[in-house]
Symmetry: C2
Subunit: 454 residues, 2 copies
């Protein structure tokens, strides 16, 4: 019986992360402060440890993974690379489809790859408590898990509407020992002000970030952690692609094309950057691998946004970064399920896209759920709505192979399972979800909020 | 870095299940009909395919696993055997603790091991539809998954109170294409009668079984499937222990004691019977392995029940079987969370216990959740409440090793994850759960419902 899973021994967990900054044609542009000058590290040092800030700005190609981090990775890594043979059969495609299953982590997604590293560096810096925000709950769960592993207290500001609608994500964080507050909360000035203006404020990710940052900035023993967008987050996630490359060697195969969902960009970066390293060095045995970021049509920052300086958060508190953005006050419609709602894309991903070194595609929502259900029917696993975006793109590619007869090798990042997203599947089955495409004028309008830079 | 996971290649998925009936000191007692005579196979043939009935009565030691079943097993099997090194460290025990992680199946528990086999045999017999019941939803999910894999329609009668309280288990079944009805339903005479008597009937497992069996018995293209108790279910689950033995060889270790949760008995049978095979043959290198069934103190069929003939279902429709039972109308208190609520224990498990070839222990509810949280804090994974019973017993054993200084090797069956049981964790954290121990008189009273046999 042929093996469909390519499993590395734990001794093969990579020893270094890959830093794509070393291989960019031009150096990454620095974040800028409100004065238009490069943001000073000391501004960030109030909320991030030095080791993280160094990684954020490093141009070293290989950065060692501390042994205590690898020891935690060992609880679920290496994650499996799996041949989706039943999906291929269902599609009748000559393509070979593989997925990297990041849903096997205890928190159910790829997010702990960076949460664990961030918890470690903070613990080493003498920090006792981490604050963070969470919307749907995936990042908050991951940080709660990671904090527990390194003995840090974790406080999660959870957008109030999610806090009320997704009580099981909250329970999960509490089981790992985290404190979870509905945001806006009474814990911070930002929260109290918001509640004073509107006691029924349902919260937003921007507000939750502001609460978490306010608390971290005010306390010496407390730092803040972010789950996407920034360079160090992309760096930590490269363990995904690095493992996948080793596993493709075991499988005696190699992808022609790689798909990963793209919201803030960390799961795409994690999967694609290690393959980009080969592309930059002339290709794998001379062959370039196509790297495709898959974003929701209802939040199309790469495919329809502008490459410009913008704030990282919705409220305009952070330094500004050069990235593809729809404008920081862009708000995806309520019909949109799940994650990938970020207004921009990671500066590193944006730069690669701007320089035409990677591709991007936007997929409509209903087609992503249709793909997720096809995957569940053939491969068993019920995927997270975010992952369904990559599955959709992989299926479309496999169907093109069926037409052309090309036996391409397709890889996608199964970023997580959907066990805490069954409410979205319910809404899909009951017809409550819709596709949504922005009129050009609406995007132009939201881009008017971009800050003016020199 | 030491490996904590012992992963078999997929080519090592066992080719045969182990049938413990071949190694019992005396043959298993047959189920009896209402007349006190052995139940006739033709009575059962209306709802089960021949291949399943043959397995139910077989005394062959090794029964081949059909290749199409192994090919579905391959979607998640072999499941990992994992050394719980961080749990050992937390306890400060010299014991080595291992767990077999059955939570990696797409449905999140060990239940698909038999659901897939049952779906296959029914499909081979020309059956087009399976009916079954589900309480908490684990079995219904597994049957929905398995039906989808073999192109069978699946109808699940889900106890109404669960249908309403656990909508995400229902969504999961629907995602795999199953029809799910709140029981009592309008689909069957049993359901209509129950609703006529009480339109607000909240349902019970007994009622849901009756609905599923009624539909299966009435339709030639429809069969019924049961997820525990029966011999063929125990048989299919032995893949767990068979894999574990191969993995212990890789680990160059061997368990001194094995713990598994025990409700109906399938997860205990699946893990323990293959080790019993060695015990029956004189031991592994002459050493006997202790095999311990762990049941809830609030439903203590092995430790406080009677070894007697009783009905398999709460309503008294099935043939009667010799087993440890609390009486088929025994009802665990509402404070009890999760599964393991069955009034009896599998006849095979019961016979082994009666003959003192295995052990049993009952654990109180709060201590099981405490153990589950310790496991989540150390190993990351949030376990199902059923699994927490085995974890509790394993931790208690490891703490005894700490006192005695013995470096025992402990194995337990992590039967599933708790992603759909966070409501129970919530109730635990908020202090809504309680321990409950029956007064002797209450058990004596419930035992009065036992049928009179020759």
């Amino acid at each position: 019986m042929e093996s469909l899973r390519f499993v590395l021994p734990q001794s093969e967990i990579p020893t270094h992360w890959y830093n794509v900054a070393a291989d960019l044609p031009t150096p990454p542009l620095p974040p800028l402060g409100a004065d238009g000058q490069p943001a000073k590290p000391e501004q960030m040092a109030a909320i991030f440890p030095t080791a993280i800030l160094e990684q954020e700005m490093s141009s070293e190609r290989w950065i060692p993974i501390p042994q205590p981090v690898r020891e935690i990775y060992r609880l679920w890594r290496p994650s499996p690379l799996v041949r989706a043979a039943r999906l291929e059969q269902m599609l009748g495609t000559p393509a070979r489809i593989y997925y990297k299953n990041e849903g096997v982590s205890p928190a159910g997604s790829h997010k702990p790859n960076t949460a664990v590293a961030q918890a470690y560096y903070n613990q080493q810096a003498g920090i006792r408590r981490i604050t963070t925000e969470t919307g749907a709950g995936q990042w908050g769960s991951s940080m709660a898990l990671a904090g527990q592993m390194f003995g840090l207290d974790v406080r999660v500001y959870m957008v109030k509407v999610s806090y009320e609608q997704k009580p099981y994500r909250r329970s999960m964080m509490q089981t790992w020992g985290a404190e979870v507050f509905a945001s806006p909360s009474e814990m911070t000035q930002t929260g109290r002000d918001a509640l004073a203006r509107d006691p029924n404020n349902q919260g937003s990710l921007g507000l939750a970030i502001s609460e978490a940052v306010e608390e971290a900035a005010a306390r010496a023993d407390t730092n803040y952690a972010l789950g996407s967008v920034l360079n160090h987050v992309a760096l930590h996630q490269t363990i995904i692609g690095l493992e996948a490359k080793k596993q493709f060697e075991l499988a005696e195969d190699w992808p022609d094309v790689v798909f990963a969902p793209c919201g803030g960009g960390s799961s795409f970066a994690g999967m694609a950057f290690p393959f980009f390293a080969d592309n930059a060095a002339g290709g794998h045995h001379g062959k370039q691998v196509r790297l495709v970021a898959v974003e929701p049509a209802s939040c199309p920052s790469l495919t329809r946004g502008k490459y410009a300086y913008d704030f990282g958060d919705a409220s305009g508190f952070t330094p500004i970064m050069k990235m593809y953005t729809l404008g920081h006050d862009f708000m995806p419609p309520g019909i949109h399920a799940g994650g990938l709602r970020y207004h921009g894309a990671s500066p590193l991903v944006s730069q690669l896209y701007h320089e035409k070194l990677i591709e991007a595609v936007a997929v409509p929502q209903l087609a992503t759920f249709e793909a997720g259900v096809m995957f569940a029917h053939s491969e068993g696993i019920i995927p997270a709505p975010e992952s369904c975006h990559a599955i959709r793109a992989a299926i479309d590619e496999a169907l093109r192979c069926k037409e052309s007869g090309e036996p391409k090798t397709i890889l996608f990042n199964l970023t997580g399972h959907g066990h805490f997203d069954m409410g979205s599947y319910d809404r899909y089955f009951s017809g409550e979800l819709e596709d949504f495409s922005y009129p050009e004028a609406a995007i132009e309008k939201s881009l008017k909020c971009l800050p003016q830079v020199g």
